[in-house]
């Protein structure tokens, strides 16, 4: 995404081609990401539309052959934070002072995972998984979506989210522990862990 600093000068035909061949193929991932941020189909549509319009408007900042999907996700994430979240009734941002200092590589919390079993996880159905993920604060949900659902690398996530790789790792670690807590609570309430 350092390519953003280099302005291109595409013809209208080139712009159309890039838009069709490099941007539009990601619309399903974009829509699903937007839906998991907003929990509303109409809002997700607006967010994706807004993202694609911005991407077209700033197409000269995109360099062909670089990662279009990461570039689009970055625009969508920024649109969500700057435009959408202000208008919506989303809960306030999590205080990272507390949560990100939680992660300490000298103190890996083995005990937190001990009562959740592989078989329990394998028996869970889509709705249960979805509820657990959706219960996480948006910034934690985001890193799990980017890493586990969309398969972005730490470096790509760092660029999409504008945070250092170390913070990507710590946020991901914390997000996964929180997700495991939700899954564990759910498993217990369903009597899975007997």
């Amino acid at each position: 995404m350092s390519a953003e600093k280099v302005k291109q000068d595409y013809t209208n035909i080139e712009k159309e081609r890039i838009f069709e061949k490099e941007f539009l193929p990601h619309i399903s991932s974009m829509f699903n990401f937007a839906y998991r941020l907003t929990f509303d189909e109409d809002d997700a549509k607006d967010l994706v539309q807004d993202t694609y319009l911005k991407a077209f408007r700033f197409l000269n900042s995109f360099q062909q052959g670089t990662n279009a999907k990461a570039w689009l996700f970055r625009i969508l994430k920024n649109s969500f934070i700057n435009d959408f979240r202000k208008k919506s009734k989303q809960p306030p941002k999590v205080d990272y002072q507390e949560v990100e200092t939680f992660y300490n590589s000298d103190n890996v919390d083995v005990s937190m995972t001990t009562d959740l079993r592989v078989e329990t996880v394998q028996h869970m159905i889509g709705d249960e998984v979805s509820n657990a993920l959706n219960a996480l604060a948006v910034d934690f949900r985001t890193v799990i979506i980017l890493c586990d659902l969309e398969g972005f690398t730490y470096e790509e996530m760092s660029k999409i989210l504008d945070i250092p790789i170390g913070t990507v790792r710590s946020r991901l670690h914390r997000a996964r522990n929180l997700l495991k807590d939700k899954l564990r609570t759910y498993a217990k309430s369903m009597g899975y862990n007997k």
């Binding site: 619309i27 699903n32 189909e41 539309q49 995972t113 079993r117 996880v121 869970m124 998984v129 586990d148």
Partner: protein, 91 residues
């Protein structure tokens, strides 16, 4: 004799990572971000350590569950058309 002992210590004491190091590497491994050397050390450790192997299998299964079980929303049919139309109007 002394050389043999040195090799034995190097291989058996220093070649094996601790459980704590193994758990630090765990997410790098499941996310495909570990170096080949880290991967080798990790595999060597879980070959002999059941608790770490179980933790690894749990992390892997959660990642697979997220990828495979979450419902994918269909993109609304009119979305692409609407985007294209807006672009045409602003061009």
């Amino acid at each position: 004799m002394a050389t043999n002992l040195f090799i034995w210590i190097k291989q058996n004491l220093f070649g094996q990572i601790t459980c704590q190091r193994c758990l630090e590497l765990l997410e790098l491994i499941t996310d495909g971000e570990a170096s080949p050397e880290e991967e080798r050390q990790f595999r060597k450790h879980i070959d002999d350590c059941l608790p770490c192997l179980e933790t690894y299998n749990l992390e892997k299964s959660i990642k697979e569950m997220l990828r495979n079980k979450l419902e994918k929303k269909q993109v609304p049919e009119d979305l692409i058309l609407s985007i294209k139309e807006k672009i045409r109007n602003t061009a």
